[in-house]
């Protein structure tokens, strides 16, 4: 009973904090609205798109924007707008799953390291630093190249590059919170480690982790598109933004719109997430609070 109150109170408190953060920073609202717009486009892709993204209109190859093909067609005569809308699904899917995976694993590692401290902490964080030191694109590239490009392998590879960042973010507030009175009180009452961690520490470090999550979602989407551009994305004919740029790049001299539209899509998506995450971070960081 008592731990339920603590749990809910922590969540309610941090929920209010995040809401205040939102209201004090217009940029994060803009970011949220833009991002939700992109999510809506991805979800409604079958209804919004005028053509099948894989259908090849051989008579209209490399057609410039027109009433029939609003953003033009690619070298196979496929409708670019439809491919963009369907590509959003894949970018968001891989971005969201890899970020979530990294968030869960990384925060658990970081919270455990901070909670238990000592040699265990030292060892774990040293391992995380090693991963962090390695160029993430190169690590992702190596893993995907070895495992083969599929949605699952891409998700694992991208998540792997983001785990150390979450471990670091989760560890430092855990170190502070485990010294607080309510944790000592919980210990005195005989609560186990799992209960202290799960119900009392994790809800309290959740805001930092979630803000980090929104910033990393932008990064994972960027990495996914970069891998696709290098040729390690989800294989064709599936449409991905990075893959569209890769194939459009061959015709950049004659048909620059082939690379322009997906470039703008990636940029808008990552920028909206950065606006959102940046505003939230300013608001929950006590050092920066009130700066607006």
């Amino acid at each position: 009973m008592s731990e339920d109150i603590g749990f809910r109170r922590a969540l309610r408190h941090h929920g209010r904090q995040l809401l205040r953060a939102f209201n004090s920073n217009k940029a994060s609202w803009v970011g949220l609205v833009l991002f939700l717009g992109i999510v809506a486009c991805a979800l409604l892709a079958p209804w919004l798109s005028s053509h099948d993204p894989a259908e090849q209109y051989m008579g209209a190859r490399l057609a410039p924007p027109s009433a029939e093909f609003l953003l033009g067609t690619d070298d196979f005569g496929r409708d670019i707008l439809s491919r963009l809308l369907y590509g959003a699904r894949l970018s968001l899917l891989i971005g969201l799953t890899s970020t979530t995976l990294a968030l869960v694993i990384g925060s658990l590692i970081g919270a455990l390291a901070g909670f238990y401290g000592g040699r265990f902490d030292l060892l774990i964080m040293q391992a995380m630093d090693v991963l962090l030191a390695f160029p993430s694109l190169i690590l992702g590239l190596l893993v995907v190249a070895m495992l083969g490009p599929s949605i699952a392998n891409l998700t694992i590879a991208i998540a792997l590059t983001a785990v150390p960042a979450f471990a670091r973010i989760a560890r430092s507030p855990t170190l502070v919170i485990k010294q607080r009175e309510f944790i000592l009180a919980g210990r005195t009452l005989g609560f186990g480690d799992a209960r202290l961690l799960g119900r009392h520490i994790l809800p309290n470090i959740a805001p930092e982790i979630l803000v980090m999550g929104s910033l990393w979602l932008g990064t994972t989407i960027r990495v996914e598109s970069s891998l696709a551009f290098i040729g390690l994305g989800v294989p064709p004919p599936t449409s991905t933004w990075g893959g569209m740029i890769r194939s459009g790049f061959e015709n950049i001299l004659d048909s620059p719109w082939l690379v322009l539209w997906p470039s703008l899509a990636i940029l808008l998506c990552v920028f909206s997430l950065n606006l959102l995450g940046d505003g939230l971070r300013d608001a929950i960081d006590p050092k920066l609070r009130g700066e607006g």
Binding site: F134, V143, L147, G218, I245, P256, F271, D278
Partner: protein, 313 residues
């Protein structure tokens, strides 16, 4: 300072060993037999066996591991599986080009980013600050290949100020610089976005310090206060971030080299991927690891030198 140096060296050694081990195992999780993948389906058993023997794949895993470590630590990372050329020699041929690009980008990025960040902090919550902050956030949102393509479209294809391809075959210095310009500007703009944000927040903290208020109260002109007491202190975090940024810079330089078709480590990686040249890939990873470990060691030591408090952490 001595204990600090020894501690850092030891840590760098452990890191190096750990990453090398990681690379060794990642390269070996490739599904199927690398020898068969390289030689193709039509290859005879003898050819495959010969290739396996040449790559040392017929040895037990721990022998392979020991060989790999010994090779990596003595800068002998073997020969290319595809062309047979020594990996280190191939890397050595293109490495200067990548280093030149990265160094140019870092210098340009600092020249652009540090003043912008400080200006933004000094004009906090004014229109200048908002513009700089949004611009730097936008800079952080660009995947390096997207910004590279946009620069290429604008300045090489439309305006024709710069060559479309930086093939590396330049005869004059002016030609060489023209080929370097766009790729370097591309990396520099993204780096500047990081630097702007770091110097802004460092400067904001320093502006709150008592010694800044004291200097103003003493009647020191504002520009002198900002320059002599502010900027110098704000540079310390910038040095750290430059070290941390290396990993991102390496990734971005790979993408930039591909877009501008510029010789370098990035193009080498993509070429080896396409040819499934695993020994070349492994060698490239070893070289990257060495660079990262050496640079972070150098940053740590420089940092301990600048700020004595770090030595006693």
């Amino acid at each position: 300072m001595q204990t600090y140096i020894i501690k850092r060296l030891l840590l760098a050694g452990i890191t190096l060993l750990a990453v090398l081990t990681l690379i060794f195992f990642i390269v070996r999780i490739v599904p199927g037999d690398p020898a068969r993948v390289v030689l193709g389906e039509q290859a005879t058993m003898e050819a495959i066996e010969a290739m396996r023997a040449r790559l040392g794949l017929d040895q037990p895993l721990w022998v392979q591991y020991a060989r790999f470590l010994r090779g990596a630590l003595s800068f002998d990372v073997g020969t290319s599986m595809v062309t047979g050329a020594p990996v280190l020699k191939v890397i050595g041929e293109v490495l200067p080009s990548t280093l030149e690009l990265s160094a140019a980008a870092m210098v340009l990025g600092c020249i652009l980013g540090i003043p912008l960040g400080i200006w933004s902090a000094v004009r906090r919550n004014r229109i200048t600050d908002y513009v700089i902050r949004v611009a730097s956030l936008l800079g952080l949102s660009f995947p390096a290949f997207v910004s590279a393509i946009l620069l290429l479209l604008a300045f090489a294809i439309s305006l024709r100020w710069f060559p479309v391809m930086s093939s590396g075959n330049s005869t004059t210095v002016a030609d060489h610089l023209r080929q370097l310009a766009l790729p370097a500007i591309n990396l520099a703009l993204i780096f500047a976005a990081y630097i702007t944000r770091v110097s802004r927040s460092a400067m904001l903290e320093i502006l709150r310090e008592d010694y800044m208020r004291t200097a103003v109260a003493k009647g020191v002109p504002p520009l002198v206060v900002i320059w002599r007491h502010g900027v110098r202190n704000a540079l310390i975090p910038v040095v750290t971030v430059t070290g941390l940024y290396l990993g991102i810079l390496i990734g971005n330089s790979v993408l930039t080299e591909i877009v501008f078709n510029r010789p370098g480590l990035g193009k080498l990686i993509v070429g080896s991927l396409a040819q499934r040249d695993y020994t070349m890939l492994q060698g490239l990873m070893v070289v990257y690891t060495m660079i990262v470990v050496v640079v972070s060691l150098a940053t740590d030591l420089a940092y301990g030198f600048i700020d004595p408090r770090i030595r006693y952490e």
